[in-house]
Amino acid sequence: MKNQILRMLTGTLAFIASGTVLADEWNMRVGVTDISRQVYDLHMTIFYICVAIGVVVFGVLFWSVFQHRKSKGAVPATFHESTKLELAWTIVPTLILIVMAIPATQVLVQMYDTGGEDMNIEVRGYQWKWQYKYLDEDYNNSYSFFSSLATPRSQITNRSEKADTYLLEVDEHLRIPINRKVRFLVTSEDVIHAWWVPDFGIKRDAVPGMLNELWAIVETPGIYRGQCTELCGQDHGFMPIVVEAMPEAEFDAWYATKVSSEIVRQETMSKSLTHDELMVQGEATYGTYCSSCHMANGEGVPPVFPAIAGSIVANGSRDDHLSLVINGISGSAMQAFGKQLDAVQLASVVHYQRNAFGNDVGDVSQPQDVINLSKGQ
């Protein structure tokens, strides 16, 4: 019996030790930032200290289990206290802990040094996707996009072969330059999420109403993957994070094209669209953002998700309808789409809802109406 216990123990320790050798798949990642490497070293230091403690403590325990057994004729000793021993095993662990606390404090202080950044990116969690916004005053902070899971449904439901990046692929990567201090400002639109890129050694909760700061200076170009780590509802397991670190020049070129096309897009906001244009754009937007709840045929899933067909709102005042979609209905699943969609999308989706599914209001909603409404608030 005791042999078994010993074998278990040595097996366990060997298991742990082999884990440290096999790296990556078994152990924390070393990562690609100075901080992540320091965190890794800290982790390994503490881990070895813990293993050493384990070896000593379990060693004594098992020695006793083997030697001091009745079947070997052991006669119980009568000692049952020793102030010296108690003091020793209070003081020695305290000293070990102090040894651990010193490097931990140093790393933590460095992590909190969020100043001197080269660029800022706002990271906003949504159920169940991430929004990234390059905070750049020159361009009115305007380049932002959503990044959501790109793994096809068929892989999740086992109808097709799973890709290597299964559940870790998004439709649009967050791009950052290497060797620059990038500051991430993390927040959330609905529930709490958490933004984590293991290779950067950073993780922070995305809390509605709060702006948390994080930073990273990535040293190697590459694609780095992470996941949301705070339970955020049904699709918590399906909102990955993918960051692509690019050489600086490449990043700058890419960013410049994004910004110029953004300027063009903003100009279209002031144009008026025809009924047909609005219907086409509206149907597309509806299909992407609304049909999961209100259904493609506008019938909804009453009583949870109301029908748009015949809805009082969709057949009532246009501005009320617009502002409902812009501001959402607080305390319900109907989110404020004003932050997610641009004026063209908002105007067209409302126009579409008012003129499809048998609704026939006949009025027109233009991007400018959305802009006016938003300004009026």
Binding site: H43, T90, A194, V207
Partner: protein, 534 residues
């Protein structure tokens, strides 16, 4: 001593238990109520365990095979809630009911009617909570920590039932604790000074104070949720000026002492079993008592180590890191004292002893991963991954749960007057020991490799660990059905046990015959040095 036993027998004739089912409904007897608590917790353990197996089945392979993510979240949430509030806590209260009056030399608990109420609330609370799974929109799906606003603005409608159920559980715990404190402080036999109390009594005394201190905090948290949901307040709603992070502070101010509520009585149990089978007095009784007291005190000032990633200021992070690390010191003292108790004893390895030794080893592993988690910069990498899942399951399953199982094997001769079958008990131990490690050890690795907790599906690099883990879970789960079989076999056809069922057993409960008389001590026994612990 013989007089006392005689008197008990005499008394037994006068008023034994009532007959039939009403006995259990109306009973005010500490043993009956203890039995009710224990069976109830066993039932909850199987329900919560079945949910764990649903979870592990879905996680056996990557991809969604059996259940939808929405249901998966209900399973993880209810598994956690049921195991914490329905299995572990009631089991400890059941043990307290059975043992404390016997160990302090009292006839019964101090407040027997309240005792009945505090038990009978529980079946209602849990039926209500479990019934929400069948309601439209489903049951609680926001994790056992129910962080706002996922548990308020975004919660299923059934959350109101959940809130009510938590209130009921809290009321039950508070009443149970008041009863335990009243019994311990007022009903000890003459000569049993505080520093001569058995360790189980000591740990429960401190646990009961913890419960009284933090259960109202939990009640406050869920009441604020209730107001946010139904009365348009904004305690935790950022849009209304509230603060979701405040919820976490309040929750963990309850939640951290709560984890010690689930482990301190375990420390007590192990402190009985190891001396018994080492045939040697507990080493360092006084320091054991002080260690428990300091752990209890520290448990109030470490809560935010569950929240290192919410974005606290540096000073806060450092404070909670240091205070958390400090807890390792008294915990270490306990482990060292147990080992010193075994040292140069004369050990035998009956089932309770096997579970107790496994407790010491595996709980220590959980404690060591706890130290790693306390290191804030490293915690950023561990937080909310399977590393945390592995950590707390190591302290709760081979920790709290093993101690409960050990206690059942240890005291069942006293409860039933019958001895369990030793070889079946040992088989149960080895199955559980293997199952628990196969389940939870690989989770350290999947966590370090980056697998977040509470996800129904995972990336391919985590596949091997999850498969091993699922196999272990099934081994562990089914070996507990075997435990049920061993228990029933003992009760039905176990060999008769003598009063002092274990050669090395000490303490007043062993002075009583087995099974113990219905009213434990009708005349206060004498606390001799031989039966005292200090």
């Amino acid at each position: 001593m013989s007089e006392i036993i005689h008197a008990d027998h005499h008394d037994d004739h006068a008023h034994g238990p009532a007959k039939g089912i009403l006995r259990w409904l109306y009973t005010t007897n500490h043993k009956d109520i203890g039995t009710l608590y224990l069976w109830f917790s066993l039932a909850m353990f199987f329900i919560g365990g079945a949910m764990a197996l649903v979870i592990r089945t879905e996680l056996f392979q990557p991809g969604l095979q059996f259940i939808e993510p929405a249901f998966f979240n209900q399973m993880t949430t209810n598994h956690g809630l049921i195991m914490v509030f329905g299995a572990i806590m009631p089991a400890f209260v059941g043990l307290a009911n059975w043992l404390i009056p016997m160990q302090v030399g009292a006839p019964d608990m101090a407040l027997p009617r309240m005792n009945n109420l505090s038990f009978w609330i529980l079946p209602f609370a849990f039926s209500m909570m479990i019934s929400t799974l069948f309601m439209e929109g489903g049951g609680p799906n926001f994790g056992w920590t129910f962080y706002a606003p996922l548990s308020t603005t975004y919660a299923p409608d059934s959350v109101t039932y959940f809130i009510f159920a938590v209130h009921l559980m809290g009321a039950s715990s508070i009443m149970g604790s008041i009863n335990i404190i009243a019994t311990i402080l007022n009903m000890r036999a003459p000569g049993m000074t505080l520093m001569k109390m058995p360790m189980f009594v000591w740990t429960w005394l401190i646990t009961a104070y913890l419960l009284i201190a933090v259960m109202p905090v939990l009640a406050g948290a869920v009441t604020m949720m209730l107001f946010d949901i139904h009365f348009n307040t904004s305690f935790f709603n950022a849009a209304g000026g509230g603060d979701p992070v405040m919820f976490q502070h309040i929750f963990w101010f309850f939640g951290h002492p709560e984890v010690y509520i689930m482990i301190l009585p375990a420390f007590g149990i192990v402190s009985h079993i190891i001396p018994t089978f080492a045939r040697k007095r507990l080493f360092g009784y006084t320091s054991m008592v002080y260690a428990v007291a300091s752990i209890a005190f520290l448990s109030f000032i470490v809560w935010a180590h569950h929240m290192f990633t919410v974005g606290m200021p540096l000073a806060g992070q450092l404070f909670f890191m240091y205070s958390t690390m400090l807890i390792a010191v008294p915990t270490g003292v306990k482990v060292f004292n147990w080992i010193a108790t075994m040292w140069r004893g004369s050990m035998t390895f009956e089932t309770p002893m096997l579970f107790a030794i496994a407790f010491v080893v595996l709980f220590t592993i959980g404690g060591l991963s706890g130290i790693m988690l306390a290191i804030t910069p490293a915690d950023y990498q561990y937080h909310d991954t399977y590393f945390v899942v592995a950590h707390f399951h190591y302290v709760l399953v081979p920790g709290a749960l093993f101690s409960i199982i050990a206690a059942v094997y240890f005291w069942i001769p006293k409860w039933t007057g019958k001895m369990y079958d030793e070889s079946l008990g040992k088989l149960h131990f080895w199955l559980s020991f293997i199952g628990v490690n196969v389940t939870f050890f690989p989770q350290h690795f999947s966590g370090l490799a980056g697998m977040p907790r509470r996800i129904p599906d995972y990336a391919l690099q985590f596949a091997d660990f999850n498969m091993i883990s699922s196999i272990g879970a099934f081994i562990f789960g089914f070996s507990q059905l075997f435990f049920l079989y061993v228990l029933i076999k003992t009760i039905r056809s176990g060999k008769p046990a003598v009063g002092r069922a274990w050669e090395g057993a000490k303490g007043l409960e062993w002075v009583l015959p087995s099974p113990a008389p219905y009213h434990s001590f009708t005349y206060p026994p004498e606390v001799t040095d031989k039966e005292s612990y200090a």
